[in-house]
């Protein structure tokens, strides 16, 4: 690691897309506006909320000490042409470990166009190449999906979830730890390509918190509970919230893409389709449900076609599987229409959930054995798939 005494101030960094410069008194209005945003309240624990002008004045007054005293470099991220404020970013050097921790927030008006990941890449390169740090870390709330995409776009590896990592704003939060070592490839490490699949009629896209009421309405349906594993009945708003939160977390983690199927014209939620990834064997399992109103209109088939194409062409899956109950004729017909082949009957494959009798053999078996459900296994290989 370099002798930090040689560096009087963190330098201006730029890549033509963003410019990282020192904080100025003139930034006050933009910082106050940006920091009074709901996402910062929820996820940026170190920023006071609500954020007053005086918070800015105090921060600015201490600014020159951040680097000299605390080994914390702070930058304002601005547009290189207009000097419009876009974000803030910091690097805290941890000399004992020859490591650094990056923190940031992005103004609401600058989100969704790569500003934050560009800034992280500049700080990352400065930390590795100029300070000669050995490791960089970045932590973000498990539900802060946007921030996790930023970390991945800058090449950080997801190392794990730190449960109950800190108490912030009166709640105990789980944080994801992202890290990068000096020798790591500085390439984006996005585990799943952005799923936004369209065929003119349907859109298959990530679930959003706004979908919670529609998910509740759709899943509070005895037919959905009957055929879909682990769907309770009745289905509460809390169940729907859990479903959406879990879908977003797993999509960010990259082991499951459980997506919303919506009407391309009206935006109405028509169902859900999911891809569960088995990365060690480049395979994945498809599952789905369709709202009562949208059944018998080919929604599942059309959504599945989009998902199959995405899985084979963009996710690098070689084998797709569908497991279904022997009594679920609709799902078996759908699998065959998609070109899947029936490979076998997996006997007693699932433990029966209490209160769900799907196969007619849910009575306790001989010897008091708990009931099990059979599954029909279907599969489609990439080589057999006819685009």
């Amino acid at each position: 690691m370099k002798d930090l005494g040689d560096i009087a101030h963190p330098p201006v960094l730029t890549d033509g897309v963003v410019r990282l410069r020192e904080l100025r008194a003139a930034d006050k209005a933009a910082v106050v506006k940006a920091c009074n945003d709901g996402l910062l309240e929820r996820f940026c624990y170190r920023v006071p909320y609500p954020y007053h002008e005086n918070d800015f004045v105090e921060f600015l007054a201490y600014n020159e000490h951040f680097w000299a005293t605390d080994l914390m470099a702070n930058w304002t991220v601005v547009d290189p042409q207009s000097d419009e404020l876009l974000a803030m970013i910091s690097l805290e050097v941890l000399p004992l470990r020859q490591a650094g921790e990056i923190g940031y927030w992005c103004a609401p008006w600058a989100r969704g166009r790569g500003v934050m990941s560009a800034a992280v890449r500049l700080v990352r390169d400065w930390a590795f190449d100029e300070l000669e740090l050995e490791r960089l870390e970045l932590t973000t709330d498990v539900d802060n999906i946007g921030s996790q995409r930023v970390a991945q776009a800058a090449g950080f590896r997801r190392e794990g979830v730190m449960r109950g990592y800190l108490t912030a704003r009166d709640r105990r939060a789980d944080d994801v730890l992202f890290a990068m070592s000096l020798g790591d490839l500085r390439e984006p490490l996005v585990p799943l390509p952005d799923p936004w699949l369209e065929d003119g009629r349907l859109v298959v896209r990530p679930f959003e918190p706004d979908d919670i009421p529609a998910v509740r309405h759709a899943c509070d349906d005895p037919d959905v509970a009957h055929w879909i594993h682990l769907v309770p009945h009745p289905y509460s708003l809390a169940d729907a919230e859990q479903f959406v939160v879990e879908s977003r977390r797993r999509l960010a983690a990259g082991d499951r893409a459980r997506l919303a199927v919506a009407d391309a014209q009206t935006g109405e939620l028509l169902g859900s389709i999911s891809l569960d990834l088995f990365a060690d064997r480049q395979a994945a399992e498809i599952g789905y449900w369709v709202t009562r109103q949208a059944r018998r209109r080919g929604v599942a088939l059309a959504a599945a076609r989009l998902l199959v194409r995405w899985a084979f062409e963009e996710v690098a899956v070689e084998r797709l599987e569908i497991l279904t109950y022997p009594g679920n004729a609709a799902s078996q017909a759908l699998a065959e229409k998609l070109g899947f082949r029936r490979e076998g009957l997996l006997r007693g494959f699932l433990a029966v959930e209490p209160g769900k009798d799907r196969s007619g053999r849910a009575e306790p078996r001989a010897g008091g054995l708990p009931p099990r459900d059979d599954q029909v296994q279907f599969a489609l290989l990439k080589g057999d798939w006819k685009g």
């Binding site: 084998r319 490979e343 076998g344 009957l345 997996l346 006997r347 007693g348």
Partner: protein, 187 residues
């Protein structure tokens, strides 16, 4: 199903074969057993298989059980203590099921070792762990293994095409299952 966190890996025996947890001292014998083309052909182990691979295998077994619910056993002959096979079961807690895997040292094949080890594992899985289903996958051309599996009462369920990925090659698997109320010959 039992709460697995309260269950330690046991030692199981039928009087002539012992299944027991791996020990650090087994590393060299594991390496000798696994550094063999006829093992590598069917099992996803490193190739060539070094002493360091053997050390990692035996020293990681405890963690595999605690963390991944993957129970690994050394199979030894009671009379001589010689290591003759490796076997294990990977448990799917949500489904209350398990998948059995094994490999037998070249010199010990055709002596009933695999059959004996599977019999002991099956009894432990159904009687102690109270699992509801056991499955075994094998490559379609591995006739010796398929005969052993069938002889233990496992029933053929189907051919899973290009199911697995072993050292970069996709392989077909046949899948067999055994439920607790299926007939098991010789039990």
């Amino acid at each position: 199903m039992k709460d697995l966190s309260e269950i330690e890996l046991p030692s199981l025996s039928d009087g002539s074969l012992d299944l027991r947890p791996w020990r650090t001292a087994d590393a060299a014998a594991v390496a000798a057993m696994c550094d063999d083309p006829s093992v590598v052909r069917y099992v996803p182990v490193p190739s060539p298989y070094t002493l360091a691979d053997g050390e990692e295998w035996v020293n990681d077994a405890e963690r595999k059980w605690r963390q991944d619910r993957w129970a690994q056993f050394a199979v030894t002959r009671r009379e001589t203590g010689e290591l003759v096979a490796s076997c294990g079961v990977k448990i799917d807690v949500e489904r209350r099921s398990g998948e059995i895997g094994y490999l037998v040292k070249k010199e010990a094949r055709r002596t009933g070792v695999a059959s004996g080890a599977v019999r002991l594992l099956v009894a432990w899985c159904f009687d102690e762990l109270e699992l509801g289903r056991l499955q075994i996958r094998a490559e379609p051309g591995n006739t010796a293994s398929r005969r052993t599996i069938e002889a233990r009462g496992f029933q053929y369920e189907g051919l899973l095409r290009a199911y697995d990925l072993i050292r970069g090659e996709r392989t077909d698997d046949v899948i067999y299952s055994l439920l607790p109320d299926d007939p098991q010959p010789g039990r």
